[in-house]
Symmetry: C2
Subunit: 152 residues, 2 copies
Amino acid sequence: MKIGELAKLSGLSAHTLRFYEKQGLIQASARSESNYRVYSQGDLATAKFIKRSREMGFSLEEVEVFLSIRADKPAHVCREAKDIAQLKITDVQQKIDDLQQVLVALHKLSDACCGGNESAEFCSIIEALEDGEGLSLAHSTQTHVLAKEQQA
Amino acid sequence: MKIGELAKLSGLSAHTLRFYEKQGLIQASARSESNYRVYSQGDLATAKFIKRSREMGFSLEEVEVFLSIRADKPAHVCREAKDIAQLKITDVQQKIDDLQQVLVALHKLSDACCGGNESAEFCSIIEALEDGEGLSLAHSTQTHVLAKEQQA
DNA sequence: CTTGACCCTAGAGTATACTCTAAGGTCTAA
DNA sequence: TTAGACCTTAGAGTATACTCTAGGGTCAAG
Ligand SMILES: [Zn+2]
Ligand SMILES: [Zn+2]
Ligand SMILES: [Zn+2]
Ligand SMILES: [Zn+2]
């Protein structure tokens, strides 16, 4: 099959397949007379392997290692594969933890703001970013009322 | 103060401060005779504001909006700030959800592999990436034993 | 007067993974 | 034979946010 069909069957674009070839991840098993890339069923399996690996969050560099293990399994041991997976798990867990901290802070920031059409003069979001003081919950929907009362 | 001191006090590098200036986020309030950037206490507050905003996960583009609200609060309303925060919350939550799915898949992938020095011939990680079949838990520490028994 | 720490600009480089363009060749069907 | 779909290459562009370099000027201390 040619690159267009492999693209359809693998779910990767032809562009991406050529890019992966440049990166040394996948080679067409032959070339036609007109120099078109010709792929086999095995190549399709490889393309799918790469796609699945990417979906699991592995980088192209990591995929390369998986591919080399796959290319000659007896020459490799389970630990090589598992180490990569474990590192990725740690990595992803760290990212989740970081994002969760950010999320908590964002909620504190956002929840304290009325979000209405009142002037931002007393907006808790801006204030919190200004003074950085623990994203105080002092400013809420009530704050505008208080502010108006004070002005009156 | 000059850029080096602002860098120290704000926690941003001098390079980054110049970069932010290029992006229109912060301006030195003056220049010395020798064309050095001269910053005020207000500039320090701005630098800190930017830094805090970045730490909350806001992009430079979003920080720019916060800065413009901050620069003229009465001309803006709470909703403008809250909308950005809410969008960011959705965004971060989505990223967390995605990563959590990846994490589950990674655990399935990794837990089934013995991770030892046995040949990767029956490695469940490679197998799962090959056939994509729900990351079967069929291969575990026991699998190598079974494989050896079958060979015997 | 020289050394070292600082400052300046414009612009290139880093990271990751694509994504697209230009300019052109090939193939198939009407 | 000609349109349209497909293929080729090398290389540039996209996104984000820095990060660094080259080449040069400024300034206080010893
Ligand atoms: Zn409000
Ligand atoms: Zn508000
Ligand atoms: Zn194993
Ligand atoms: Zn294994």
